[in-house]
Symmetry: C2
Subunit: 279 residues, 2 copies
């Protein structure tokens, strides 16, 4: 097992959870103005339920230097509060040659993320620089959860084989995965595509955005996303957890929402005989 996959397994095992919490500080929704303080409270409230945290860099960049400083403090706080948790920088970076190498340095050395999301529109040489350190990994944006993701990702293509573009992306990532540190982003809102990607890449980690705290499709998304033994899928929820309450009780509400989502995911795994061993 690669060091990256081992890190994911360990993070999930520690809290018996596949739940990833997205830390997306939107000023129009924040119940308190201080992002660092808000994130700190959310992290402390959810640490027992989350195997991973996923700050989306867009929200921090939009706040300027204050936001970047809050991101730095947030990363430090996750390391302190949940040392086993995976920290995924949702950056969707992608560029060519020297620029991609510079982004890899920014993401893994400057920020210190365990993994980042990558946009592979630029092909093999836009991804390779992110894979050099086998203990750090990427989740390549394969099939999004948004309506526009169908615009290109679902186009039928004829390369070596005929397939929708998102499947060509999954197959290419599979070929590039020589160090075991490539995963894929596939939305929970497109269960057919999610299942197709899992069939093509049975052993790769999947990062799955687009589930709410409730929602009847959670069960089918979990089943489509997990590997054959019910693991290696990180089911992400952002707003459903961190903005579970707009009031002063936001941390307690986040704790409850995270616990509930983790338990719902685990109930599905248990139904399928893939529950966590009792500790």
């Amino acid at each position: 097992m690669s060091p990256f996959v081992e890190k994911i397994r360990q993070a999930c095992q520690t809290c018996q959870s596949l739940l990833c919490v997205g830390l997306d500080p939107d000023p129009t929704l924040l119940p308190v103005p201080d992002v660092s303080r808000f994130n700190r409270a959310i992290i402390e409230a959810t640490a027992e339920s989350a195997c991973a945290y996923k700050p989306n860099l867009a929200f921090y960049e939009a706040l300027g230097p204050t936001g970047l400083s809050a991101l730095k403090q947030t990363i430090a706080h996750i390391r302190q509060t949940a040392p086993e948790a995976l920290i995924i920088g949702d950056a969707k970076r992608g560029d060519i040659g020297p620029s991609a190498r510079a982004y890899a340095k920014a993401m893994f050395e400057v920020w210190g993320f365990d993994a980042i999301t990558v946009n592979a529109w630029g092909g093999a040489d836009s991804v390779e620089p992110f894979l050099e350190n086998e203990s750090r990994g990427v989740f390549v944006w394969c099939r999004g959860s948004n309506p526009g993701s169908g615009d290109f990702q679902d186009l039928e293509t004829s390369g070596e084989s005929t397939a929708p573009l998102y499947q060509q992306m999954a197959l290419a990532c599979s070929r590039w995965n020589t160090r075991g540190n490539v995963g894929l982003v596939v939305g929970a809102t497109v269960p057919e595509q999610l299942a197709a990607v899992r069939r093509l890449c049975p052993a790769m980690p999947l990062l799955v955005p687009g589930v709410g705290a409730q929602g009847g499709e959670l069960k089918s998304a979990v089943r489509a996303a997990v590997d054959p033994v019910g693991r290696l899928a990180l089911i992400n929820s952002s707003r459903g957890i961190i903005y579970a309450s707009p009031g002063a009780n936001y941390a307690a509400a986040a704790a409850a929402a995270a616990r509930q989502l983790r338990d719902s995911i685990n109930a599905t795994l248990a139904e399928d005989g893939q529950g966590w061993p009792s500790s």
Copy 2:
């Protein structure tokens, strides 16, 4: 003419140039350690020859807070030294919904770029938030100059029509261009694709990376890139100009390289009867 296209035309007219200078501070190549000082010298040396500057954010992010501070100073210095020049943030951002809106805020409001490069893998709703302010624009990454860009961008696709993926991207951008503030990035290293995109989008601005300070293909790239009257193509050179000399004379060398490239581009325009009116 849209405010964005008018701004490009004005920037080009002012210095009678289609040259964009890429400001990519690579620590392994910098002749002086201070990025802000280096960029300042480069900007002063090239202001008479360049209609646009294109800092690639990867290089600044890789340097941490110092790099971001240098980028801020660089933008201010361009505004002061070359007030008509277009400042293009080469960010290749792309994300969905609220995240794309946050990136638009970061790029146009926090940094204050006139235009940015965008990665449209996520489709219409990943681009739309960048287009809301018609005086700011985007250059969508259509067909790259790197070898890997062929991996997906050249795949044959069958959507409404059968075409290579980069052409589907060009056509989609053309549809999204309701405010006249969408352009495309197409590499000079792929003259056939460049010509095809120009045929599909005769009136859209193109940003063309991949030309060196010399190179026999410059002439054909310029001819393929410009609009029917010899305008609306920004021909970018980064390393060929800013690292023209590794020594203390780097600014003078950059000035000479920029002048030479601008003049070569203009010679091609003049040969085709599309030269600048004498002032």
